[in-house]
């Protein structure tokens, strides 16, 4: 029985199990047992024999190792076709829609206000213009005729147009 300060203790039977299960590649052995198991392996000829047999099988197995590289074309296709994400049954698209909702309402109001102002602006302008003309008419009429009480709707004097 071997024990290290940070590692679990292992028995010969346990090292046999590790060799049978994980083979000769000690990197595959459980990390917490590895150092103690390797120490015991180095000290035990019976275990070394089992280890050699495992090595032979691993040599055969590793002949079947396939080299795989990232497939950029496949990756590009996958990224292109990614659907909306899901978080607790709500898609990101839906979430985004809800996130934009207050902004959309504010923008809607702003657009309505602008439309209202634009639609009313020319009419108001015309009204103002008419009012101004009326005032001007009145002033001119006062000036020319010196009659303050004359209704602007009354017919203007004949020479009025030439004064403008």
């Amino acid at each position: 029985m071997m024990t290290t300060s940070t590692q679990q203790s292992v028995s010969i039977e346990r090292v046999e199990t590790l060799i049978e299960a994980y083979g000769s590649n000690t990197r595959c052995w459980p990390e917490e047992e590895r150092d103690a198991a390797m120490t015991l392996l180095a000290e035990t000829p019976a275990l070394q024999q089992r280890y050699k047999e495992a090595q032979q099988l691993d040599t055969v197995l590793l002949a079947g190792q396939l080299e795989e590289q990232p497939d950029d074309a496949l990756l590009a296709r996958i990224v292109d076709k990614l659907p909306p994400q899901q978080v607790a049954g709500v898609t990101v698209k839906q979430q985004e829609r809800w996130q934009w909702w207050p902004t959309s309402i504010a923008a809607g109001f702003a657009v309505m206000a602008i439309v209202f102002m634009v639609m009313n602006a020319p009419q108001q302008g015309i009204e103002n213009e008419q009012l101004a003309l009326q005032e001007m008419d009145y002033w001119l009429w006062e000036e020319v005729t010196d009659q303050a009480s004359v209704d602007s709707s009354e017919e203007l004097p004949a020479d009025f147009m030439s004064m403008l």
Partner: protein
């Protein structure tokens, strides 16, 4: 995503910590993080899938697996299982689904097996050994074969492999021991015949 205590995270390999970070970014619909994670795991995913299904089906499996990672990244929880195990678990399940639905014939084509140890060309000998090995691996029960694929060819740790196959460490060691023992017998028989 549930955060692990710092003491747990410290003992993890750096690549696993990076995967956690990438998954968090993917949960925020970050395609750059997704691409990075996919590039990192795609070779193992493809390699594993190609051992079960045809090459084109393997690409479909990888595409479906990565799409699921993208969709579910926000729901993924760190419960001590590495992101790689989670991803490979998805690949494994999809491969099994494909095999079940298509009743994929695991026997290699007959003409591929017509090889002789007396053939002089080394390349051909290599092909023969490959076919013999493929045949030997295919003779194993599916769980034993998957356990060997993941630990030997994809160097996954015992914990990761156990998570992919959804078994305990003890059960995994039993699968591996029985698989290797059976494989040894088959290889020995192939050498004698």
């Amino acid at each position: 995503m549930t955060k692990q205590p710092a003491s747990v995270v410290q003992h993890r390999p750096w690549s696993e910590i990076e995967d956690h970070g990438l998954l968090q970014r993917i949960a925020g619909a970050n395609k750059q993080a997704f691409t990075e994670l996919a590039r990192r795991h795609m070779p193992v995913m493809l390699g594993f899938a190609r051992r079960y299904v045809s090459s084109s089906d393997a690409e479909d499996v990888v595409q479906e697996s990565l799409t699921r990672v993208w969709i579910k990244a926000g729901q993924w929880q760190d419960r001590g299982v590495s992101p790689r195990s989670w991803i490979m678990r998805i690949v494994y399940n999809l491969c099994m689904d494909k095999l079940r639905s298509e009743r994929w014939d695991t026997e290699p084509a007959t003409d591929e097996l017509k090889c002789s140890a007396a053939t002089p060309e080394r390349a051909y000998e290599h092909d023969c050994r490959q076919h013999q090995l493929t045949r030997a691996l295919q003779a194993l029960p599916e769980r034993q074969r998957s356990a060997i694929f993941l630990t030997v060819y994809h160097t996954m740790s015992n914990r990761e492999t156990a998570a992919v196959l959804k078994v305990s460490i003890e059960a995994l060691e039993s699968l591996l021991s029985r698989g290797r023992k059976r494989l040894k017998e088959i290889v020995k028989q192939q050498g004698e015949s």
